[in-house]
Symmetry: C2
Subunit: 194 residues, 2 copies
């Protein structure tokens, strides 16, 4: 998606440790108008798939998914990272290893809101090693929900997440794909297929 790619090249900063800082528009300060167009692009790519629910993970996926949910005209569910007493009743849980924080945590969602009749599009801001997405996929499989695909804003295509998801039969649609990046060389994006 050209607009997102241009924004990454213009505003993104690469730091040592494989960190892409895009927190001016994607995952700390948010650009809702950009998110709207990202949602429209995912809707275009997943048209006629019968998507009736979006599933993401707190925290940085929520803004993207909320606006995409309005575009798709369906509810949005975000998996939580720890049990709070505001979630009553039964939950599905999965384990996720966090690259950013270097720890394993539990994600969960209420059984009440993820159903065998659901056709779910997974959404997240980043896809790198794929652990978060694999956790969301795990929740859907426990629920017996169909996973239509995974919509990603920024895929680090040199990391294994994309292949891991595709190896599980999940269609992955990333709006920007990074082939390589470094503080010295900057960011190399895959050509936009559109």
């Amino acid at each position: 998606m050209r607009e997102l790619e241009e924004r990454i090249l213009r505003d993104g900063k690469v730091y040592a440790g494989d960190v892409l800082k895009v927190d001016g528009f994607l995952n700390h300060q948010l650009d809702p108008a950009l998110f709207r167009r990202m949602g429209e692009e995912w809707r275009r790519r997943f048209a006629d798939q019968g998507v009736n629910k979006l599933l993401t993970l707190e925290a940085s996926g929520i803004g993207i998914a909320a606006i995409a949910g309005e575009v798709f005209g369906c509810p949005v569910l975000f998996a939580k990272k720890s049990r709070t007493r505001n979630i009553a009743g039964s939950v599905y849980t999965a384990q996720v290893e966090s690259y950013t924080h270097g720890q394993v945590y539990t994600i969960l969602c209420s059984k009440e809101y993820l159903l065998p009749t659901d056709r779910v599009l997974l959404l997240d801001d980043f896809l790198a090693n794929g652990n978060a997405m694999m956790g969301l996929l795990d929740l859907c499989r426990q629920a017996g929900a169909a996973v239509v695909g995974a919509g990603v804003a920024v895929e680090k295509a040199y990391q294994p997440g994309g292949e891991r998801l595709r190896g599980q039969g999940v269609r992955v649609e990333s709006l920007a794909r990074i082939l390589a990046m470094s503080p010295e060389e900057g960011i190399t994006l895959a050509p936009d297929p559109a």
Copy 2:
């Protein structure tokens, strides 16, 4: 706001320990169409205030604020609950005591995105004791940003948060105000002024 009030009365459940479960539409599963109309209501109430930034707190404020940001036509900033290595550079920090989790945590936002020229509307899903909002107010004051007010989805009006904020000179606009609730008696809402 009548639609939100009716939704709370229809779908909300009250549990012991002063817990209002509205996770079917507000803070776990999200209803983006409702969020749009909430954003429009806050825009109506804060019209002509020159709001140029929305500030909320992860996680459950983000969906509401993202869609409201599109309505207001301005960026959304969410304060994070712990330092991650994706935030580089200097940050403002504040301490918040969590009622839900029973612990004190640090919230932070990048100095880069909260500016002395900003006219900020604070947003959150719940206002109870007001600790989260007071933390957001603290961040704004450190930045020298003007706080235009606080938009709240559900205020527990029998708790001190609303008065604490108003005592700090903050205009609070809650879309639903709960006067009392209990598992036995259900939910009593304040009359809708609109």
